[in-house]
């Protein structure tokens, strides 16, 4: 017994109004007959779009880690910290749990997210039938976790807003913060651009044969 997907039945759902419609015989750029929203069987260009965003995120990941995240100016002079130097600072000063949190949220998670997305993209492009359910679960995880990577940016934004005692202490966001923010946003977009239904498409094809 085969399970049919909407696509295999030639049916489309409108994301806006939920109307079910048939795929027109010719064509592309389908529109909902009721609300005129664009309709598609799968997200258009999902793979390449995800790739583009993912590559951009990877590029940004380098300056995000190399450039200073936060510039602390105080009586004691100015200090600019990258993410890693912050982690090292907390680790050496004994606050290892804080170091772990920052390391996980700011270095590990974005990196794992990018690796996961790459994995998903590659396997999907290869129409792999390997670990379908795990991959689907991985995708969901990537989507959920994504927003939490903004933690660092929130911290920097908060600090910058709060610590503005002219002369005594000022905190300014470094160029690394911009890059890091870009990484987080780009990976989120990449995750959004990816269509998890593509994971299951090879199964569909198998069923057709």
């Amino acid at each position: 017994m085969t399970r049919a997907s909407a696509a295999s039945l030639g049916l489309l759902t409108c994301h806006s109004c939920g109307l079910l419609s048939r795929v027109a015989a010719h064509g592309h750029d389908l529109h909902c007959p009721r609300c005129d929203a664009p309709l598609h069987l799968r997200k258009p260009n999902s793979i390449s779009r995800t790739w583009a965003l993912l590559i951009a995120a990877m590029i940004c990941y380098i300056p995000a880690n190399v450039l200073p995240m936060m510039i602390t100016g105080s009586l004691f002079g100015t200090e600019s910290d990258t993410i890693m130097s912050g982690v090292v600072y907390f680790w050496t000063s004994g606050e290892w749990y804080l170091a772990l949190v920052i390391f996980t949220a700011s270095i590990l998670v974005p990196m794992l997210k990018m690796i996961a997305l790459t994995l998903l993209l590659v396997t999907t492009q290869l129409r792999s039938r390997w670990q379908l359910e795990q991959r689907a679960r991985l995708y969901r995880l990537v989507e959920i976790v994504g927003r939490w990577s903004m933690l660092d940016i929130y911290v920097v934004a908060l600090m910058v807003a709060l610590v503005q005692l002219k002369g005594l202490a000022t905190i300014l966001p470094g160029p690394g913060a911009v890059a890091f923010g870009a990484v987080v946003v780009l990976t989120m977009f990449a995750a959004m651009a990816f269509d998890p239904r593509l994971i299951w498409d090879p199964v569909e094809e198998d069923a057709k044969k």
Partner: protein, 565 residues
Amino acid sequence: MTETTHGKEPADIPTALAAPKSRRSVQLVWLIPLLAALIGGWLAVKSILDKGPVITISFKTAEGLEAGKTKLKYKDVEIGEVSSVTLSEDRSKVIATADLNKDAKSLLVSDTTFWVVRPRISGGSISGLGTLLSGAYIGVDVGKSKSTKPQLAYTGLEVPPVFSTDAPGREFVLHSPDLGSLDTGSPVFFRRLQVGQITAYALDKDGAGVTLKVFVNAPYDKYVTPNTRFWHASGIDMSLTANGISVQTQSMVSIIVGGLAFETPVASIGMEEAKPNTGFNLADTRSEAMKHPDGIADTRMVVFNESVRGLLPGAPVDFLGIDIGEVVSINTQFDPVSKKFSIPVEVRIYPERIGSRRLKGAKPIARDPKANYDTLVAHGLRAQLRTGNLLTGQLYVALDFFPDAPKAKIDWDKDPPEMPTIKGSLTDLREAATSIINKLNKINYEAIGSELQQTLQGSNDVVKKIDKMQFEAIGSDLQQTLQSTNKLMQRLDAELVPETKGMMEDARRALVSAEKLLASDSPLQTDATAMMNEIARAAQSLRILSDYLEQHPEALIKGKKEDGK
């Protein structure tokens, strides 16, 4: 599509609308990674392009240096950062590697200096206080060298330079016997204005003095002429003069940390400015500095045979009350022949201090020290130790004339020539007192004492003998004598007095009769008066006669003429 598998076929499923085909060959989404790559690439290229020269600076200690934190600053502008601090191979030094900015390349000339800026308190200035909190940084001062080839290895200074090379002004060299309380950065005052500071000091190679370098800022450096005098303005210069106590200071800073001051004597104001690195002597006090410079100095030896306690090197040499020199050193010498010690005192005499004013018509004194000294010594010039202060017993060497002194000559053969001396006035006094005491000591007090005792004993014996004599017999004899004398007197009284009385009455009677005879109404008296009148008349007539005869001498022959004729 089988109905069995899918259950109920939806009754009415509309067909999606299809828009005309408008396929874009290039997806816009790829612009995002392109943009990211461009920005990232640009950043990478920029960071490579911005990478300036990497230099190494060696220091004695890495105190305050921290890799990745210590900055290099030129005029407080950040020009680089220390990337690593390592030990040199022989472990004698610390080598700091610094990454400089790209535009710092032009700063790296051969005489560019580097030093670590730490908090420092010296010379009345506190510097680098900011580094207390921020940590040390490396200060940079660009040299004046014009070489274009950048140098990459430098030796850092241990002491920061006091002024930057581009500060206008001039540096001068001072020679001083000691450093006093001065330090690098100690202020230099001119009319109580701080116009510069000490930039460096070093002990002379022979260890005989200290050479200081001072930097006088423009525009004050023009007041330094070749005749300018420098002196220690450290602390308080207090002096007691006939006018009272005078206190000389420059400023509170100089009281606490010391300093220098300079002034140009009025006579030489307006002279041309001194060239940079001109050497000057550093005097101890202003009065000493402003003294007429002592051009020629004659070193002489004076040998004393008495204690020189209270005489110190630097004590004045006094000539008729004028300070003309000072004591340089005091030694001892032993004469093996006479087995006596004597004290040779080396003195320095500045003959120019003896004024050049001379009597009208006198010839200027020839500059012939030998002859001059010989003449003076021949006239009795001698050196003598005198007490300058009775309380402290300080001595000074006085040159004075003693015409009665035994003849002496300057011993020109010795080096330095030896001048004759005479015993000090105090020594004379002391010797006289000593001889008196000696004489007193020689007196045989015991003999005197025993003789005195004998004498006293003798007199005692006499008294005793007298005491033993029979005063009672003498007394009774004396009484008898007195009694007989009394009897004699009584007899005299009884026999002599009545006769005397009769004699006295006779005498009175004679006197009464004499009185009667001489009374004014007595006949004798009246007669006498009448007689006297007669005599007066006779004398008158005689005078008339003589007058007449004088006028008419012929009357003596012819007789008196008749009045009618």
